[in-house]
């Protein structure tokens, strides 16, 4: 029996050799971390990074982590937790909604710029990315940024690579900022409220200095998460309870933040869309989306809508990404203005002149 083996480099030099060779032969590659992100329909041989794995350095006192892209995310999370730290952007695990069984990796998280509910307060994955090593489409080994918090030395290509879904380069090392895990957390739940009411709750809560670190609406209930030092938590909770008393909040210590992070309520096989909008537009959009025949949930204080169901959400909101195809054809990514698309194409040709890296994956 013959088994088709994936290309599975274990070192940066091997990645460079493979890419230089594929560049010369113009052979497309599908770049894979744990295979748990956006549905990957691109042609080509699979280049898996699971063997390019391991932590290079973790310095809790400097709040920095340097690791190779194939390092499993759970491994990183455990290591950080043992030091009382975390990746503050709360990377989601999309296996459930995508029906996959690989292990999410650090590289895949960065390549997708994947961020969970705390994105609202702490910023996205890209905001925590301090530096990268990578191999471009010619097979050149390159670096950008570094391992310090403040760095404006030259162009910030780390930001460009975060969220580029492996279409510009193959990451070989990432440097991320880690932050102290706040020791106490609780949630105010508002059962049975509409999106419009949820938005009013979010706007009130997010205008306070109480550092709300999650604001979501799922299954008809709104949730507000607060985190902090023990001494902060009771105070913040009580202030928010008083401010929002008219909406009858309940204190909940086991709120489903992990499920919200992973959009677990929308597991299945039908089309699933991720829509970014102004929070105040979310309730109206949800009404329109439901009229198309599906269901919605909100995260990021209304700035992120998950829509599961039929129809084309881009008729209502331009910034919609098709995360799970469920039989829908056409581009997964939102369309771009012509001048922006031209810049993006130009960058692709600079990083990957032969067009071998996940070709077409991010087409809008």
């Amino acid at each position: 029996m013959t088994v088709a083996l994936d290309l599975a480099p274990a070192t940066e030099a091997e990645v460079a050799d493979i890419l230089a060779d594929c560049h010369a032969r113009r052979t497309p590659l599908r770049i894979l971390g744990g295979g748990t992100r956006v549905e990957n329909r691109v042609p080509g041989e699979t280049l898996t990074l699971s063997r390019l794995s391991g932590v290079v350095t973790y310095s809790p006192g400097e709040m920095t982590l340097i690791a190779r892209p194939g390092t499993p995310l759970p491994e990183i999370e455990q290591m950080l937790e043992a030091e009382g730290q975390a990746l503050a952007f709360e990377p989601p695990d999309m296996r459930g909604i995508l029906g996959r069984n690989g292990t999410p990796t650090l590289g895949g998280t960065v390549a997708a710029n994947a961020s969970g509910p705390r994105r609202l307060l702490a910023g996205a994955c890209r905001d925590h990315l301090l530096g990268v090593r990578f191999v471009d489409g010619r097979g050149r080994v390159l670096k950008n940024g570094g391992r310090v918090m403040k760095n404006v030395t030259g162009l910030d290509l780390s930001k460009l690579l975060a969220g580029s879904h492996g279409t510009l380069a193959v990451l070989t090392e990432v440097v991320l900022k880690t932050l102290p895990l706040l020791p106490a957390r609780t949630t105010l739940a508002f059962p049975d409220v509409t999106e419009a009411t949820a938005l009013r709750i979010f706007t009130t809560a997010l205008s306070t200095p109480y550092e709300v670190s999650g604001a979501a609406h799922v299954g008809g209930a709104a949730y507000l998460r607060i985190e902090g030092l023990d001494s902060q938590l009771a105070y913040r909770r009580d202030r928010l309870l008083a401010l929002l008393a008219e909406h009858r909040p309940e204190v909940m210590d086991d709120a489903p933040w992990q499920a919200i992070r992973d959009a677990a309520h929308f597991a299945g096989t039908d089309p699933l869309w991720r829509i970014l909008c102004k929070p105040t537009e979310a309730p109206g959009l949800c009404d329109g989306l439901r009229a198309m025949g599906g269901d919605c949930s909100l995260d990021w204080g209304g700035g992120l809508i998950w829509y599961r169901g039929p129809g084309n959400p881009r008729d209502l909101a331009a910034h919609a990404t098709l995360v799970r195809r469920g039989g829908v054809s056409g581009p997964a990514f939102p369309p771009l203005a012509p001048a922006v698309a031209r810049l993006q194409d130009g960058l692709r040709r600079s990083f990957d002149p032969a067009g071998i890296l996940n070709p077409g994956l991010m087409d809008g």
Binding site: N113, D127, R147, V148, M149, V152, L182, P335, L336, A339
Partner: protein
Amino acid sequence: MTIAMPAPDSRVIAQAPRIVAALRAVLPPDAVIDDPQETRAYECDALTAYRCPPMAVVLPRTTAEVAAVMRICADMGVPVVPRGAGTSLAGGALPTADCVILGTMRLREVLEIDTANRYVRVQTGVTNLSVSAELEPHGFFYAPDPSSQLACTIAGNIAMNSGGAHCLKYGVTTNNLLGATVVLTTGEVVDLGGPEMGPAGLDLLGVLCGSEGQLGVVTEAVLRILPRPEGARPVLIGFDSPEVAGECVANIIRSGVLPVAIEYMDEPCLRAVEAFAKAGYPDCPAVLIVEVEGSKAEIDDQIARIRAIADALNPVEFRESRNADEAMAIWKGRKSAFGAMGRLGDYICLDGTVPVGQLPYTLRRIGELSRQHGLEVANVFHAGDGNMHPLILFDANKPGDLARAEAFGADILRLCVEVGGCLTGEHGVGVEKRDLMSEQYAPDDLAIQMQVKDVFDPGWLLNPAKVFPLEASAAHRARAAE
């Protein structure tokens, strides 16, 4: 004068009258300046050792006017140097004799304050401080706070990805910038990002921010705004050695308390501050100012934790502020530090960042280098994120002193890179650190950055002599000129 600039393009200078006439045709009369008496006001920024009057200055008021200027300059092959308030310490806005300075200071409208969606949209000539001032009645603020915030503009902040004292908690400009309206060298106007929390395609905004005016001219920005904290209070901690102060910084960060600022001052700085501002700081080799935010009870709790950490390291003094006056007294010396140093003579202010754990070693090595070069250095900086600001003191009237100070500065920046840090944490590369870029980046690392510039600015007209060593960018500039 050790930093070279490329020879001005004589073909451009020969065409100066035609170029100015073309600019006058698309801008209001007071928006084009070519009188040498007046262009001289633009000959340098805050890096005053380098000066060169530009060919002309334009001061557009709208995005459309900026686009018209860019089209003319692209057509006629004229280099464009964007300029905010001219507060760059790195020579980011230093002109060349063949360039047009494109000043953003008349783009000064606040276009939209949207607290429900937590953003503000401004023209980029507004000053950093005025954005927060506009937001104050709404209970919000804009977080990045460079020390030049009274004068510096949002355009300059975006170009340099500016930081500030409070970025330990709130991040720098790139973490607080949601969108930008950008004029490309073609004169096209594009919107990158927007009020939404993420880009539609590649994160072009992320690469634009901090690109030192080399990729496009940002005329409008969408900025993330935050609710004002209930209160803030600093403490002052004195130590009898820089190493122990450095250890205290690392221990605070590890403890889970995340202060909004941790500032460090060393003995030469403290002496100057004492003489100038009489802040009443303790007489010791190292002082930290740590500021925390929250309600009164939250602040008390965080300060108690910081005190426990500091006490374990036997501080010379731990001074709390019980009221606003005492808080101001603690900040007084730090805020007057640069003014105080200025009275000691001329200085170069460096900006390298090192990993926090390397602070004690780096400070020791800077002391050794100071003795080697025979020039005094004072250190005052953002310790929490390792962003150092060594101030090298010299005498501009003494022949050779500037060159010696620059050589000392270069050695310090090499040291920052050597210990795992970088050349610049918040001031930018400009011309000042341009020729040191190859200390931090290999030729290919610079090449890929210049290839990004090729895409945005194929003619290499935007601020072309900055950031990249001239010999490294020569081929790109030559190809662009064809």
